[in-house]
Symmetry: D5
Subunit: 163 residues, 10 copies
């Protein structure tokens, strides 16, 4: 049991000269093989260090992004996910679009059974926006599960008081 | 990818001379096109700065309003939503009616697949009132989902102790 | 839009000489017309200032009462609800009975589609008691919803440590 | 409305010379009549003062016990429940067994429609144990509800960090 | 009622010379007989002291592990579970694999009706990873329940801000 | 070491027929001898079940009262303190006066070296009031300490948001 | 002991026709006699319902105001304080000036021994502002205490993350 | 650097046959040598598992005890402290006396430069009691420090609401 | 009373074409006149949206910055402070240096009586760093107060567990 | 302004082949020059990932370590601090000694004006231990400040309930 570096084929891990690109770039996403493809399980990433620019005013926006997925053959490597999220740093788009874009890029990179992305942005003008999107692979039971999870989404909104 | 101002057709964004109207006015609501109409997703607004007047005593009331919806062809622009909520500032109505009114105005403005509005008001006379209303578009699966979400509403009331 | 006093027919609102009666009295409950009878919505009252007397020892008991209902033709007026709850101040009954009594009196007063009442009492002898009861109008879908909500009640009990 | 002592037939209430027995004794449990047998409702006891002995090392164990039930003809009297829980003070058994024992004794004492018992024990060796058991009366709808509540048990484990 | 040491046949309990092995070793897991095999109930372990090594960098990783299961004929003894978790201390593997490995080892050791394991790891590079896996015994109702619990997993992600 | 009932001379303890008086009555306060008069120490009472009547409107007011003192020759017995606080139940006075009255009655009853009383009332009209008063015995070092504690009082007001 | 309406000479209390003025007006402040002028004590008001307008943009600002004072001969009546704070509703000024203005108006109205005012405003542009000012009456010990309290102000800033 | 068992001379550590005595017994306290007598430092014990009996009613009482001290030549061994606190399990005394007794026994056992003991008991009759006592060795600077710490004790009482 | 735009002489306020510069630039700081130079008061800014780059790895760092000062003749305008903090976005420096730089720039811009800056950074490598620096104007009492505040800094470090 | 790698002379930063040593080794600590030696300021490290072995039982212990210091000519580099804390992973010593050792090693490495170290360990046997030690450089004002900070240490112990 256990894994070591020899098992993997990752371009970025341990790569000291990593260039941090601060323009949107989905190509930095890397994946590795799922060692337990026989088992359905969830992997969740908590990402409280997301920042992008407002497309209208060019001011920085800040959010925590929650990404949760059920892998099929591939998992996304977490350092490459960090680089991918960094790439929004000087990129301008609406909150709603950022979240859908992140989901679609991750679907393209690892073709998961299920994935959901929830962004919780800091307020602008006294109002904060929290978009949520999900997806289940067509033709699998996860297609139906995605619909059900969307239908049950956020029945208990968290308390927000802007402090 | 990404959006810029040229993509949009918004009257108020960046409009320096914005007049803040403090009388109820649903006409300030503005919408813009949904770039992902193929994808069902939720957008939630957290609005902790709502204030209106009590219709009986004319005293100010205070609330946090949570608005959550699934867009169809249109999204509501957040700055116009702020102006709309400001327009209740010197307007008198019962808590219960304010919440239903907000939902109906947003349905009229953007015709969403689904929407819900939850108000959590500060106490008057030692009691606080939290109205909740929702809606699913007739003839879509969201009609049924709205019923189910209402049936499951708030099984876990938050702890409130007036401090 | 908006409501004003002329629309209402309430005996107590603004009545300066209000007598506070501290003996159980369901007659103080007053109702007013639902302006949105076409729309199903929830109204919740958070009432952290409930106190009654223990029927065995005559000691004061303290509770927070959560009342949540779906109106039919009538809503209960919140100041009259306050007076009603005050009327338990020098009244003695078991926690469990107080909660069922409150629900039955509110059903009688406004004949709602659905109602639930949850009391969270302060501890006596190191143990606290939290009764919960609900009701759905016979012959409506809310009869079934009441059963389902009871079956799913409080799957996540709040942490209580008596401090 | 209201209850007074004359309505009840309880041995322990107000019994000044109460002996506190610190050896396991289910006989101290007392019940009284349900005044609302027509109405299904939940009663929950929060009991943060439970302590027993470890059957291996004889060291004291500490727990909060949550007991929730739907009465049929009888309710358990809360002071007798306190005495019953005291009777574990010098009694040795595994966490898992204590919880099942408490449930079975309460079923025997009041024959409820439904009951569940959840224990949350303080850590031993850096690990804490939280057993949960439930029961629905055979031949009633509560048999099925018990199965469903077990199947949905604790999807959101509370955060525990031993501080 | 009650248990004492004579009832059990455990190698490690009270064994003063216990060697703590800090290399992965599932053989330290010990089980004992379920005294209530007629009753389905949950046992949850909260384990906030888990640490392993990163397979890429050999740096220590830290997590809280939540293990919840429904026993069949056997329960896992908690001190042996502690030793088992200690055995990851100098072992290197990915977060996702550790969690699946822990579940599979516990299935092998006690053949439960149902089990789930949720790891919540501290952040690396600003992102934290929380894997979750579950299992229901084939041919029992728990196979279906496992699928349903996975489908409903974590609809309310906990707030994480890395402080 | 240890105390038993024979050491004490208390009228109320264990007195089953205790009458609960709900009109202001400082005579119910009872004291007992300090067994450690050589040692200065603090005793704090946390009293979250205080309720009185508003002198203007006769509506119930609710507060948590914190009482902290350094005994001289006498300690106040906690059950008699409970009865004393009950006696405000149907008594009308301003928040500020209630707190000063409680302190003065306790000084008269036990002549402590030092005492302070802090009331935290639930809001009326959107504002809550928290009076604080203290006292040090004239001619002792506690006179000066009382002044210093008042001068440093509440540099960090607790967050209050009326929910 | 106790107070009743006859003891007081307040214009607004119980005055049903109260006009709520939403333009800055310090004249609404009313005071009443301190019944304990021999005793130094603190009175704190928690006011979470403050709103004014930004002098630059005319947008509404929201704050919680904490007012704490030591009375001399007069106390400020809480309902009149509420009216006074309402009078900022349509008034425009900087956060910093509002807080100093409130303090100066209260000094003028009741000439206290000591007073402090702390405003905690909701964020604008991602930054929130919390002004604090205090005052001790010249020629009393409270002049020095005010300096010391200012020198020790807020050594532990509350955590603010704009959610 | 580092310590091992050979450095110590402790009777109880690793002593498998440890008898747990549940009657008050200060003799179980054991001490070991301070390896850093040149350095003043604090050691704090957090003890949330304290239970004793009420001397009036023989009912169990529960508390968290906080013990903080500055060692001179000796430190108290934590397992022996646990046994000592266990010895109050079936012992009856007032809350106030338990705390002073614990401090005096620890002074006798290890003659520290400074010590303080704070008990926070669960409520009885709606009121909870938190005694605090401290001590500084005569003829050292800690005598004065003890006085100062007592004078500044608990300026910010924790919020207690009995839930 | 009250302020309006005509009273001010600010370059940036309401300036629609504001350019957001993401390279370090202290020149964007703007000040305005203190209307209450006779009164010492604190102004605190809570800034949870600070981000800079690590000077070693060029990775983004995130922090909340707390700035608290006592104005002399000038106050810093909050929108210009926002722009100033934005200017660290693509700037690389150590946490410790950023905080000292921010303080020195603000001293240069407004010459306050007193100022302090506290940064709380998100963890890197499992450790987070929180620098704190302060300053009192030479020749004023604030020079001494700054020393005293530094000597008393952070006696109660906040709990940090990286989640 | 700003720093870059050329300014520094650090052996470990960016050193890909870093060996993680899990035996106590103070030699891994590295320091760099203080760029602001004219300014007294605090640097705090929050280290929630500390683990060592119990010297008696060889079981793992877990703690959060808080280190706070005022630099003189040198600052400790945070990655080297991480390696130093890792070196306790397989090292056995008492909680109290670990904390004093960490402080003494940091004094030797960077000769600070002031330093304090506070460890908060997870419970063993139901009790947790939190040692605290500090130091001020002889012959500077920080010698006195260290004494004062020790005398005022932890007047408000955090609530600990082992959950
Ligand atoms: Ca709040
Ligand atoms: Ca908040
Ligand atoms: Ca917050
Ligand atoms: Ca609150
Ligand atoms: Ca707790
Ligand atoms: Ca509480
Ligand atoms: Ca924690
Ligand atoms: Ca957090
Ligand atoms: Ca934290
Ligand atoms: Ca609250
Ligand atoms: Ca947060
Ligand atoms: Ca509370
Ligand atoms: Ca609690
Ligand atoms: Ca945390
Ligand atoms: Ca805790
Ligand atoms: Ca905890």
């Amino acid at each position: 049991m256990g894994s070591n570096r020899g098992d993997l084929n990752l371009k970025l891990l341990g790569n000291k000269e990593t260039e941090y690109l601060f323009e949107y770039n989905p190509d930095v996403l890397e994946v590795f093989d799922n060692k337990h493809p026989d088992t359905d399980y969830f992997v969740k990433f908590n990402c409280p260090e997301f920042t992008s620019l407002c497309p209208i005013t060019s001011q920085p926006d800040f959010a925590t992004i929650y990404i949760s997925y059920v892998p099929d053959q591939k998992l996304v490597e977490s350092k490459s996910l960090k680089l991918y999220l960094f790439s929004f740093r000087n990129h301008g788009d609406f909150h709603e679009n950022c979240i859908v874009t992140i989901m679609k890029d991750l679907i393209k990179a690892m073709d998961p059974k299920y994935i959901e992305v929830w962004g919780k942005f800091l307020p602008r003008g006294g109002i904060s926006i929290d978009p949520y999107v999900n997806y289940g692979k067509k033709g699998t039971k996860w297609e139906k599960i995605a619909e059900e999870r969307l239908a049950k989404h956020d029945l208990y909104p968290e308390t927000v008081d802007n402090r």
